[in-house]
């Protein structure tokens, strides 16, 4: 099916199912698809399970704060040097969010499995020495290495219904160039049943082809491209703009209380 060029409003309304498994890309406060996430929050789309990159910040805290997320699969939600994630923290401490405890390695392997039609992946040693598998028995299971007979732990494949990611450029057909370190966003896109890509701009196919091999996604994997210049703000897009520390700090201050968070949302909606 041809890739569609949509507005954030159209993309979220038509391609993000209610109560579905939504994958959201961007690592820490870098390349988070905030134009799409903000629209998800504005439309109040309920999310059955939110799956993030190995580390998320505002792209997880905003939908959690809006009360849209039933269950979270994320190895890290925080703002690094700027502080803890206020809405995630509050929801966890109040018990209003189901948190599937997981880790960076496990999640990455689970997305790889999802991308390749592999039902589960055995994990390297280390995870059994943590409290993670016991906290998340639905995601991690003990099994046996069929070759050696030794015990090992496995993680189930993860397949988001839709992945929301932010890349640099797309052409009119919907071929996409990351234009940045891909983090796990390529795996997230490959694992998802449907991919919506937010880009800074549309360029010619020749310009997409000029990117290094392996840094592009073919149009046939991309359901929709959304042009949103500056759309990762207040997170950064490497080579285009840095993170907006003043805005992130203002968010962290506002979101310290539920009232402050709601006010922030109202102000952001204009």
């Amino acid at each position: 099916m041809a890739t569609r060029l949509l507005s954030p409003e159209e993309a979220v309304a038509e391609l993000v199912p209610e109560h579905g498994v939504v994958g959201v890309g961007g690592m820490h406060a870098t390349a988070a698809p905030m134009a799409l996430v903000r629209e998800l929050v504005r439309r109040r789309v309920p999310v059955g399970r939110l799956v993030t990159s190995p580390s998320a910040s505002l792209q997880a805290d905003l939908p959690i704060g809006a009360g849209l997320v039933d269950e979270l699969v994320s190895p890290y939600v925080g703002f690094e040097d700027l502080g803890l994630a206020p809405c995630f923290r509050r929801a966890a401490e109040e018990g209003s969010l189901r948190i599937v405890e997981c880790d960076e390695g496990g999640l990455t392997h689970a997305l790889y499995a999802g991308a390749g039609g592999i039902p589960f992946v055995p994990l390297p040693p280390g995870i059994e020495r943590t409290d993670i598998p016991a906290a998340s028995p639905g995601l991690y299971k003990e099994t046996k290495d069929p070759f050696t007979g030794e015990t090992c732990w496995a993680i189930q494949a993860i397949r988001p219904d839709v992945a929301l990611i932010a890349c640099l450029e797309a052409d009119e057909r919907g071929n996409v160039a990351f234009g940045r370190v891909p983090f796990t966003d390529r795996l997230l896109a490959l694992a998802a049943r449907r991919v919506v890509v937010q880009v800074e701009r549309i360029v010619s196919s020749a310009q997409i082809a000029a990117h290094a091999p392996g840094t592009t996604l073919p149009a046939f994997l991309v359901a929709a491209v959304v042009v949103a210049p500056g759309g990762c703000a207040p997170t950064s897009f490497p080579g285009e703009y840095g993170r907006d520390e003043a805005e992130l700090t203002a968010y962290l201050a506002a979101a310290r209380t539920p009232e402050g968070f709601e006010e922030y949302l109202r102000a952001a909606a204009g």
């Binding site: 890290y76 401490e93 020495r129 943590t130 891909p182 490497p238």
Partner: protein, 240 residues
Amino acid sequence: MSPEYTPTELMAIVMARSFGDGEVVVMGAVPTIPLAACRLARALHAPALSYIVGGSGTVDPAPARLSTQSCGPELVGGPCTLPLPEVVLLEGRGDVLDVFCAGGLQIDARGNCNLVCVGDREHPRLRGPGSVGLPFLPAVGRTLVYTLAHNPRTFVEQVDFVSGAGDRAQLVVTPLATMDFDPQSRRMRLASTHPGVTVDDVVAATGFELVLPPSVPETPPPTGEELAELRRLDPAGSLR
């Protein structure tokens, strides 16, 4: 007479001294101190040291100012980048990475680290960000635990949640002291106190019973060369 320095600068210097030439170091979120330590070690005694900065996967980046975020745009342009899934592969295979710099909301007597919660996980008194890459700790050559918070809330007898096991923890660096692990009991042992800090200060700041050797040396203060080089790497004064 040693020059004036901050406790954070001393931490970076102590960490730098622990890195051997040719080793590969991996660090996570808020990389400022380990990044400074790696660059300092490369400049002074370990020119073949390599380091991977957190989720960005950048190898040996030398940004003009020390990064406080692990995926910041200033890290782009390191001579090499490993996409995160490949960092995950190398962390798992266990024979490539030598040092994992880690921390936690809680660190316990056996070097276990907790980034998940204080109190019961279902009803935490404090929810932390999550375990990220800490389960890999026992897969990497050795763990270097560091924290700016040397207090009884952070240093506890037993963590409330094990994000990463302390099996391979060898060195702990704080603003007060360095600690290692007693080979028999595998419990944390006071190794040196920083200049101006007493053994009693460290004991009072630690929420479990530290193994105390008969005599505890003072951490050697920064040399003029170490401090000059560190400040050259940190013109913005992130460690001051």
